[in-house]
Amino acid sequence: MISLDRLSKRYGDRMAVDGLTLRLRTGAVTGFLGPNGAGKSTTMRMILGLDRPTEGRALIGGRPYHELENPLRTVGATLDARAVHPGRSVRAHLLALARASGIGRARVAEVLEMVGLDAVAGKRAGTLSLGMSQRAGIAGALLGDPEVLMFDEPVNGLDPDGVRWVRRLMRSLADEGRTVFVSSHLMSEMQLTADHLVVIGKGRLLVDAPLKEVLAAGAVLVRTPHAGDLALLLAAEGVAVERRAENELIATGAPIERIGDLAHEAGIRLHELSAREASLEQAYQELTATSVEYGSTR
């Protein structure tokens, strides 16, 4: 549904987005990961026709955003939940979006109920909490019942209930066959929600792969009295092995199940076989280590 073709954005002599080429899958939640300043929001703005690409293009169903017949019925997006006139009620804000797209008043009431804001819909937006604003933003994205949904950091400011709600919502939207594209800098969140991961750093594509693959690329810790034998065996199978201690190995490049099976078949006794904690976090850090724009220097 959404395809990016060498999408690039230059600010002065800095490439904010650098030759991004990818296709987003329908019926799946695609997590869009990257450190702050990696170009996630810029990419989303270019998809929505808000920022003009320096080079390349972003197409939705084969057309640029501004050529869509009725954009809100095709793409629903929330970039910044706080981007509502503080003196206008959420209902009035949504009503304006609905009118601009020929969507009826009843649908506004419907989405307000879906996000659980019907009680505060008449209040001025400036008086709402960040969590409520996030829900209001999501309501705006859902307004046109679109095939594509894009959310920029949707769980920011939400309480644990709200976070679970967003997770379930994205899951169900994808299960209905929609394309869901969610940016985040929270690995743990993506590990729970995404089917597919797109990771960028300094504007460049680092990973475009199913979540499972990215996780499988994570490291596995093995403790065994026969570390030498297992290391040889794994190396022969193309698994990268690092000997940590006399009886400890770190294996990368194979799923944990496969390492267990290999050891079992060779009759090697294992004392521990575990995925290294927060594997996505780790995989991500390894991936973006060289591309952190505003990292702290330790």
Partner: protein, 288 residues
């Protein structure tokens, strides 16, 4: 936003100005107008601005009309008649700024809050978005202008009818109707100019400064300089163009304006179009 902003980017097989495409533009702009109309009236500041314009016009008209009547009486002139709408027209030179405060935020508040992005998501073709805003702001300002003028003329007539003002004030039906209509048109054009400049500058403080200088500061400064070229320029700025258009009996030059109502309207409309064009040019080029 070059490509995204132009209307001529329909897919190749479709002729650019086909009836279908034109109908599409009409539908999009009509929907945009409905959306913008709702937005303008859903914030309190709009209502405050309308009320403020009415109050300010009435107060300024009473002050200006009162001082003119007193001047005439002091000079012993009893043959001149003072149409009540004259005072309302002079008053609008000051009261127009509350209308600017109504028109300008239609765009500057969207940049301030970031909601311009959701507006453009719904109406991605930028010219249509700006057209919708202009089509909302102009009638709102027109009605406010007529209303303020009517209130000011009525108040002026009532007060200046008192014997101490010599009973010079008049309220002829035909003249009053024409003047009120012209006041409305003046207000509509000024508000479109403010909207255009707001779109070009994006920021409220900057826009207000430029609009204030253009509408009041600059013509008075040029007038004070006394140089003939400066005078000529000053007379083409929106303030004198507006006063000529409304056939004001009184203007800061002290003499009659060198051109008539029609030319005044042309200059004023020219400024409004220029402001809108400047806004559109920036809107299409810059990222939102």
């Amino acid at each position: 936003m070059n490509e995204a902003g132009t209307e001529e980017t329909a897919s190749p097989p479709a002729p650019p100005a086909s009836a279908g495409a034109r109908a599409g533009v009409v539908v999009a702009v009509t929907r945009g107008v409905a959306a913008e109309w709702g937005k303008v009236w859903s914030v309190r500041s709009t209502w405050w601005c309308v009320a403020g314009t009415v109050v300010l016009t009435v107060l300024a008209a009473l002050t200006l009309g009162g001082s003119r009547a007193t001047e005439l009486l002091r000079d012993g002139v009893t043959t001149v008649r003072l149409p009540a709408t004259d005072a309302a027209i002079s008053a609008m030179v000051f009261a127009q700024f509350t209308l600017v405060a109504l028109a300008m935020p239609a765009i500057t508040s969207e940049y301030a809050s970031g909601s311009i992005r959701s507006t453009l998501q719904a109406t991605p073709i930028r010219g249509r978005m700006l057209a919708a805003k202009a089509l909302v702001v102009a009638p709102a300002a027109f009605v406010t202008g007529v209303l303020s003028g009517a209130a000011a003329a009525a108040a002026t007539y009532l007060v200046l009818s008192a014997p101490i003002f010599g009973g010079l004030v008049t309220l002829p039906a035909g003249r009053t109707a024409v003047d009120l209509l012209r006041l409305g048109v003046f207000c509509a054009l000024v508000s479109v100019l403010a909207l255009g400049l707001g779109t070009a500058l994006r920021n409220a403080a900057g826009t207000l400064t430029v609009v204030f200088m253009l509408l009041l500061g600059l013509p008075l400064l040029l007038l004070m300089s006394g140089a003939p070229v400066a005078m000529e320029l000053a007379l083409r700025l929106p303030m004198f163009a507006g006063l000529a258009f409304m056939e004001s009996a009184d203007n800061p030059t002290g003499g009659p304006l060198p051109y008539g109502s029609a030319e005044g309207l042309a200059w004023l409309a020219g400024w409004a179009v220029a402001g809108l064009a400047a806004g559109l040019a920036v809107l299409r080029r810059r990222d939102a």
